[in-house]
């Protein structure tokens, strides 16, 4: 006995996914995409830079998150930023998560894809924080395997982000910049330089942010992050900075950023703002401040070429 479908649509069919052509974000400043800003973004004419989203927020089957991201992606390049692949962890990567990640890359064709030098899963527990790892030969080879595995799974290179840290491992035998340089060399991944993280870690660990940037493999950097931080105190009553992403970029971080851009040229730059989210014009103004620094470099370079 046969069953007859009484509607014009077959049951398993979902709405056709739109096709998104490649869009460049060279020389641009962008912002974290927050759904509460969608109406304000759409109300403005012209491109509002690029938008970065946390990949995991778009791993549901359907509904408003995808509709919002499709709307944004129609007119803007996006950067897909993974927060919980746990590349720095000691256990195998979650294959289901890798395949979900690949699905998003295929669907939205992001201009950039990035993940963190950190871990967040232990056994079956997802700890929802970017946790630090020791820098040793053994962890290096493990992280490289994970980066290789992710790049193979999604079919393209990723950018790996330097962490903000509050503690050191007694067992670490390499500097963070060496560790990151080796990962990039061995896996071919690019780097996401989070200048706020550099400043936070430098303050917390008592090293010079400028020295760190001098040691950092800047030629591999494909994106820069800027964000606000908060301030607490350590056990000795000294300043301990928290990577809180809940306010404007600090002046000291702007100064470091200026130095990096002067040295490297106009690298796509993102303003991250993830809690106590302001109205769209406030966030956009922060991105425009970065854009002004990028444009100064772009224009300076053009004048230099014109003269030579």
């Amino acid at each position: 006995m046969a069953k007859v479908d009484m509607t014009p649509h077959s049951p398993m069919r979902t709405e056709a996914a739109p096709r998104f052509p490649t869009m460049s974000l060279a020389g641009q400043a962008g912002t974290s995409f927050k759904p509460e800003h969608l109406a304000a973004i759409c109300a403005e004419t012209g491109r509002q830079g690029f938008f970065e989203v946390h990949a995991e927020n778009y791993m549901g089957a359907g509904g408003p998150p995808h509709r919002a991201l499709e709307r944004v992606r129609r007119d803007h390049p996006i950067s897909l930023h993974g927060v919980c692949m746990s590349l720095g962890g000691s256990q195998p990567l979650d294959r289901k998560h890798l395949s979900r990640f690949k699905g998003l890359v295929d669907r939205y064709q992001p201009a950039l894809v990035s993940e963190h030098l950190a871990w967040s899963t232990h056994r079956n527990t997802y700890l929802n924080d970017l946790l630090p790892l020791p820098y040793t030969a053994a962890t290096l080879s493990h992280v490289c395997d994970h980066v290789d595995q992710m790049q193979t799974a999604i079919g393209r290179p990723i950018l790996l982000e330097n962490p903000s840290t509050y503690v050191l491992y007694v067992d670490s035998s390499m500097s963070e910049t060496d560790f990151i340089r080796q990962i990039s060399r061995r896996t071919g991944c690019g780097l996401l330089l989070d200048v706020n993280n550099v400043f936070v870690s430098a303050t917390n660990q008592g090293f010079s942010a400028l020295d760190y940037l001098r040691d950092f493999p800047l030629s591999s950097v494909g994106e820069i992050h800027l964000a606000g931080h908060a301030e607490q105190q350590d056990d000795e009553g000294e300043r301990l900075l928290i990577d809180s992403h809940d306010g404007p970029v600090a002046d000291a971080v702007w100064r470091l950023y200026d130095i990096v851009i002067a040295r490297c040229g106009p690298i796509p730059t993102l303003i991250e703002w993830d809690s106590k989210i302001p109205d769209w014009p406030v966030l956009r103004a922060e991105a425009l401040a970065a854009q002004a620094i990028l444009d100064r470099q772009t224009n300076g370079r053009e004048q230099f070429h014109a003269r030579s």
Partner: protein
């Protein structure tokens, strides 16, 4: 196969995650000895930053999934309850919109919530609400679909649920309490009675519909694959005043189904 998979010893030397994570959800545990501050500084407050990040972010995840529960209990009560739950049952998936499935049952067992016997059902509605929010997009059954079925075949029709459809039954007025507390509007007295709710999403809008008596029995039967006639009979037995055409019309309008199926009566024997 990688070395770590066949050599347990290789995994062990790498496993800094075990000692580091062991104390993250246990505030009374000592700071792991494998970490330190720079230049001989202590690591206690530094390690506490990670502890705090983990616990506070999981409490925030629960608060964002269960805003009506938080409004009912107040933020301090909620934070304490959510902290207990997060430490006892942290997420097992990195997708935080999947977190909190055990929270309603936890609320049932939570001593301090014993005076709010309907609170866990409000949490169940909020959990299902979020699942409907993230469920797959699909066209909903259109209102004319039933009108083309000959009357004598209507009873055999079965209904496929829309991916967003959820049915909730509560021994308490949980739907009304949910609706009052989900926003910021005023709350008032609620008549104590059992309530059933249908959750659906049309386009971007998730809606919780309060069902009339008998309708949950009817819808439950349809969602489990029983035909229209069997579902109607079950509903009439539960509620003699059950209004079949009103119920099916309202459910179709709410977007509860994706399509109907009927047995073809005109297949010639081979």
């Amino acid at each position: 196969m990688r070395a770590a998979d066949i050599l347990p010893i290789a995994l062990k030397t790498l496993d800094f995650t075990e000692p580091f994570s062991a104390a993250l959800l246990s505030p009374e545990a000592p700071t792991p000895t494998l970490v330190t501050g720079p230049h001989g500084k202590r690591a206690e407050k530094r390690y506490d930053v990670y502890r705090n990040n983990v616990t506070v972010s999981l409490i925030a995840a629960l608060a964002s999934t269960f805003p009506a529960v938080e409004r009912i209990t107040g933020p301090d009560f909620f934070r304490a309850m959510a902290r207990f739950h997060a430490r006892q049952t942290p997420p097992t998936s990195p997708l935080l919109f999947d977190y909190g499935r055990d929270f309603p049952d936890f609320i049932d067992r939570y001593d301090y919530a014993k005076d709010l016997p309907w609170l866990s059902d409000v949490a169940r509605i909020e959990r299902e609400w979020l699942d409907a929010y993230h469920a797959a997009n699909a066209p909903a059954l259109n209102a004319e679909a039933l009108s083309v079925v000959p009357p004598d075949e209507l009873g055999a029709v079965t209904f496929r649920p829309h991916p967003t459809t959820r049915l909730i039954s509560s021994a308490h007025p949980a739907v009304t309490i949910f609706a009052m507390n989900r926003g910021t509007g005023p709350v008032g007295r609620v008549e104590n009675r059992p309530e059933d709710g249908l959750i659906t999403r049309i386009e971007d809008e998730v809606t919780v519909h309060l069902l009339a008596p008998g309708n949950a029995t009817f819808l439950g039967a349809l969602l489990s694959g029983r035909c229209l006639a069997a579902a109607a009979a079950a509903a009439l037995e539960a509620e003699p005043a059950f209004d079949l055409s009103g119920a099916i019309g309202a459910m179709i309008a709410a977007g509860a189904f994706s399509h109907i199926e009927r047995e073809t009566p005109n297949v010639e024997p081979a």
